[in-house]
Symmetry: C2
Subunit: 471 residues, 2 copies
């Protein structure tokens, strides 16, 4: 085990943590993965990151980069050997600069996502990346996993928000790639290669992000639907009617909404009678560059068309900002309200939007055939072809019995995803969780190319070993 | 020299061209680059491409992929040795399918861009990639160079329009990656690596593209400006006022408009008196999802605000579709009208929008100091930070004298690009033209990483040798 004195010299003694101090970094936030590290190293600058990596290369010490430690796949947790360092980027948390004429912002990897959003807002701009963990996740982690979230329909995943990167390579060199250019065709796209590589090719230390104008008004509506097929037709109609102003289109199973109001009685479903008992709902968000009145008028036109076409059974259009927020709050409360259904088996699925209805029908049927009585908890970003497709115990199983079936449930769902041309990880990444199943669902030529890239950019295999690819 | 009989067996005898038949493929369309090929091979399917590549690997024969042969950088022309084959994708020109619910389209590499646009239009959708060569360039070439064009401000470069790829690797394997997913975080982003690699890593045979709703109405306006600085401020105001409906923002030097009406007397500048003699103009395009009246009303509001703020000297908002088209036609005629200024030295520059005014001022001054009397022909996509910054002889030089100064002019312009954090190739790529200057302007760490990728994915160096990277 190499001595860490040299690391203390590089980053300063207080920033090399061992023993008890290191513990919170060694376990993921959901307590699903626990590892052990030689030390937690917290560099304060890109130069220090480079020197730490150079030391690791010389000593053959593996490196596990870590941001807010909010991975859902164990991507930031070391193995149990105690041979790796955890490289925490938390101290590199500055917004280095905002350029409003260029609509760009340079942010360090350790900056908490909410702080980056806030900095943009104070400059009169929108940084549209937004997701549940935004109060604690860091932009470095968002970059590492190519995070999605609630605004993808309009603004894309993290990858589409990045213009430039600063990276410390696996050999400890600094790539100064913080370009603020919307066009640059001078060679291979290394930027998008590092984004989404989950720390296995190098360490992203900063990024240049695109900014957007703040919308003048936002309005939401909740629409009741008979089927996923109708939801897909409604999406098409809404995209045509709203264009790029359509910034959200969430599908929600009726039982999810009932779970929310059961857990949080102060919330309510804004329908009564049969409209409150529909199998599906869609939450639409419109961002308008004119006015709240204009947003509402557009909603009325498109929702009217959908009602007339028989796609929608009932609809509520928010009449105020508060009402808009209450509707979003219903949607956002679903993950927390899931406990009402007991611990469940979670899937982060994407399929082409056109195959979504068929995917839900056939997967539900296959699960009921194999595991009669399980309950389907389905909600998510239909506009992106991305569903949280979760399976709960229903009346038929104990929590423990259901969790015992977890691998079998995954197998049924993943096989259906394969048949529908989808992905087993839409926005959460691979990490440790899906590393070993990835070869079963990934094109073998693609997987072989990935291994060549890994070998080329990290020949010693020190960057976040055991994540994404098998060792 | 290996015999080509086996190639004839793979693709059929009529599709292996040699001698006179091969000539048009061996010279680029501007007659700047001429090479010689062992043969031109025109496979009809992905399987045939794979077999051709396998044969080339076995025989160590280099491969130069070619689409519509419209490269501006000699990227699709072989060297003079006659050792390489030209792999023409022209026969693979099908639109394989359009999925309107998923808003995607699968197109083969040899499909002419205009045919792809047309197929989308017939399905009631917009495929927004649009550029001057669209009548003859192919989507394979667009993918290879990550082509830009006139709609980048709203829809991004080619890269941002791609969801999936089918690729024949440098070893002749087929990567089946034609996913139609907007979210898929299961490993490294190979898609964006092949896009923009100019055929040096493998052969793209097909792609899954994003489609968008057709706008209900489009409206343009031409605004007269005193400076580039005012144009940048106007862009900011227009982005705020129009949001994603702003689909075009072109900057045009006053002398460019005068060149157009001199060349094409049937066209006219829609201003009189001093307003027709301004140094700069901006052409704005608004795409509306409501109506032509709504588009015009929004233009009036934003242009009114710009006039009031003193950013704009005079403005014409198109009152009809025909007038909108006439304004665009002025802009589109500039490249053809450039002959009025004599042959010139062309640059495809990008810099951050916020540094654009400074770039133009200081580069103009540096050129005048070195080459007194040259004329500046400046126009382009200001909204993307991309200018065509061309240098003409003015009254001071003969055409031949100016072209003799070409390398010196490049050196002045490239140095200024470097100082302003820009790129020497915004949308045209590197090809042969900029291969040897690239190392002077690219971060050395980035260039070393590019070489490692090349080595990893094309270890024999057979894919489009001598393009992008030095051999």
């Amino acid at each position: 085990m190499p001595a860490v004195d040299e690391l203390k010299r590089i980053v300063g003694e207080p920033h090399v943590l061992q023993g008890e101090q290191a513990e919170p970094y060694q376990v993921d936030w959901r307590n699903r993965y626990a590892g052990r590290a030689l030390a937690v190293v917290r560099p304060g600058s890109t130069q220090e990151v480079a020197e730490v990596v150079q030391w690791c290369v010389a000593q053959r010490v593996p490196i596990v980069p870590q941001g807010g430690n909010t991975s859902l796949c164990g991507a930031a947790t070391p193995d149990g050997s105690g041979s790796a360092i955890i490289l925490s980027l938390a101290r590199m948390n500055r917004v280095r600069g905002i350029d409003t004429d260029n609509d760009t912002m340079v942010v360090e990897a350790g900056c908490v996502l909410q702080a980056a959003q806030q900095a943009a807002r104070e400059a009169g701009r929108l940084f549209p990346l937004s997701l549940a963990a935004e109060g604690s996740c860091t932009v470095g982690g968002n970059l590492g996993t190519n995070a999605g979230g609630t605004q993808v329909l309009r603004y894309g995943n993290t990858r589409e928000l990045v213009l430039g990167l600063e990276v410390v390579t696996a050999e400890g060199e600094i790539w100064h790639g913080l370009r603020g250019l919307r066009k640059d065709n001078t060679g291979y796209d290394l930027r998008d290669l590092y984004v989404g590589s989950e720390g296995t090719l190098g360490v992203i230390t900063a990024a240049t992000f695109k900014l957007y104008p703040q919308p003048v008004a936002q309005c939401t509506a909740l629409l009741g639907l008979a089927s996923v097929r109708d939801a897909v037709a409604l999406l098409s109609l809404a995209r045509q009617g709203f264009g790029a102003s359509l910034t959200g289109f969430e599908l929600i199973g009726g039982n999810c909404l009932h779970g929310v109001v059961q857990c949080y009685p102060q919330q309510r479903i804004p329908f009564e009678g049969p409209s409150a008992q529909l199998p599906w709902y869609a939450l639409l968000e419109l961002s308008d560059s004119e006015s709240a009145e204009h947003a509402r008028a557009r909603f009325e036109a498109v929702v009217g068309e959908a009602l007339e076409a028989g796609l929608v059974s009932d609809a509520v259009i928010a009449e105020s900002m508060a009402q808009s927020q209450a509707l979003w709050h219903l949607r956002e409360s679903i993950p927390l309200a899931e406990k009402a259904f007991g611990k469940n088996v979670k899937n982060d699925v994407s399929v082409p939007v056109s195959r979504m209805a068929d995917f839900v029908e056939t997967t539900n049927a296959a699960l009921q055939a194999r595991f009669p009585g399980v309950e389907h908890i389905i909600f998510g970003h239909l506009g992106d072809g991305n569903l949280h497709y979760n399976v709960a115990r229903g009346q038929a199983y104990t929590e423990q019995a259901l969790l015992g079936l977890q691998e079998d449930i995954y197998a049924v769902v993943y096989e259906s995803i394969r048949q529908h041309g989808g992905s087993i990880s839409a926005e959460h990444g691979v990490g440790q969780l899906k590393r070993d199943v990835l070869p079963l669902y990934k094109d073998p030529v693609e997987l072989a190319l990935m291994k060549r890239i890994k070998q080329a950019l990290d020949p010693l295999g020190l960057m976040n070993p055991g994540k994404v690819l098998q060792g």
